[in-house]
Symmetry: C2
Subunit: 218 residues, 2 copies
């Protein structure tokens, strides 16, 4: 599949690399074409990897990953262009962590709304699916790297078909069916994003980002 990965940071390059490994064609999008990090990433991969502006990437992708920083996501998606995103699945894995006042970061949107919901409201013709934002990016594409993959990833969004396609993609990433928790419509991203404050705290306590949440029940 042709996939756009918006964002050139560690999350974008980790997701992009995994998608290439899975045989997909990936265009990494950034604010300006010829972004150095995007070019470096492309140079490490086959001809299936390319780069361009947010707009070029969004036009290219049949599916779009939002790996931009959550504070800049809406602006990045605006420059990608709603016409280029229309009808497509947008996998939103961003968190609007505001570090402007130092540690711990605040959430720029939270409680009665969330980044996932704001993106859905801003781009009503896009099928937004929130997932993977509750963990370190290494774990996103290699859940088996801790505890045999026996922990959870949350998925929410308004379009059932889109969620099913995203769940299939998560399985390609290595997630077991039983580990994928569907938490309903896009308002579920409120809870998923509000996990971040304890995630950040636990990273400090444990001294490592290599951990995840598991929902335990009988």
């Amino acid at each position: 599949m042709k996939i756009a990965v918006l964002g050139t940071g560690m999350v974008g390059s980790t997701i992009g690399t995994k998608l290439i490994e899975l045989g997909h064609e990936v265009k990494m999008g950034s604010r300006t074409a010829g972004n150095e990090k995007a070019k470096t990433w492309v140079s490490k991969h086959s001809s299936k990897a390319s780069q361009g502006t947010f707009e070029e990437a969004a036009r290219f992708g049949e599916m779009v990953f939002n790996c931009t920083h959550g504070m800049a996501s809406i602006e990045a998606l605006r420059s990608a262009g709603s016409a280029n995103l229309k009808g497509k699945i947008l996998i939103d894995i961003a968190n609007a962590l505001d570090f402007s006042k130092g540690m711990p970061p605040a959430l720029a949107v939270s409680n009665t709304t969330s980044l996932g919901e704001e993106i859905q409201k801003t781009f009503p013709d896009v099928k937004v699916v929130k997932t993977l934002n509750t963990m370190n990016c290494t774990l996103m594409v290699n859940p088996g790297s801790i505890a045999g993959g026996d922990h959870n990833v949350f998925v929410c969004g308004n379009d059932e078909g889109a969620k099913n396609q995203v769940k299939e993609m998560l399985k390609q990433f290595g997630w077991k069916t039983a580990s994928i928790m569907d938490i309903g419509d896009i308002t579920g991203s409120r809870g998923a994003e509000m996990i971040l404050p304890i995630w950040v705290r636990l990273m400090g306590t444990l001294g490592s980002p290599a951990f995840n949440f598991k929902i335990v029940k009988n």
Copy 2:
């Protein structure tokens, strides 16, 4: 030990009953003396159980559990009286869930502060320890009821000695040492309280409050 349990709801009566079973003396506090739910609770137990106003309970307890509704906790603690709370450990297990606009509830305080922090700021002479707020009350006092108790309870607060005493109390409640996660000072309650939105969502998804979070790592 003489313990005050502030609050007559399901959380207060569950905690109070467990404390009685453990051999402690418990005074359940409510806004007015002779509260019907408090009287009913007392009638089910030995002479070790008693009830009174918030003020009477706080004066009685060497340790105080805040089991009031989080939206009313500061007011309840004010009527308990700072002189009666001074120097004591206050175990805050409340959540400031605001249901005034329906479901899902919002958090009345969140993100850059939390109920635990606000209580600590309002009562600087009290040793506030936030814990147990991330799960259903049945589980608080009977962690072994799911998955052999193999899941986590978070503890935070500014006073190390107080936290250690609370951890001992958690062990009396049935928590394994390895399940008790110390997440630092009282600002950790921010993350612990912001778990509630996904907790509420998961309760709906799973159709039961009998679940908990486990932090999984290698």
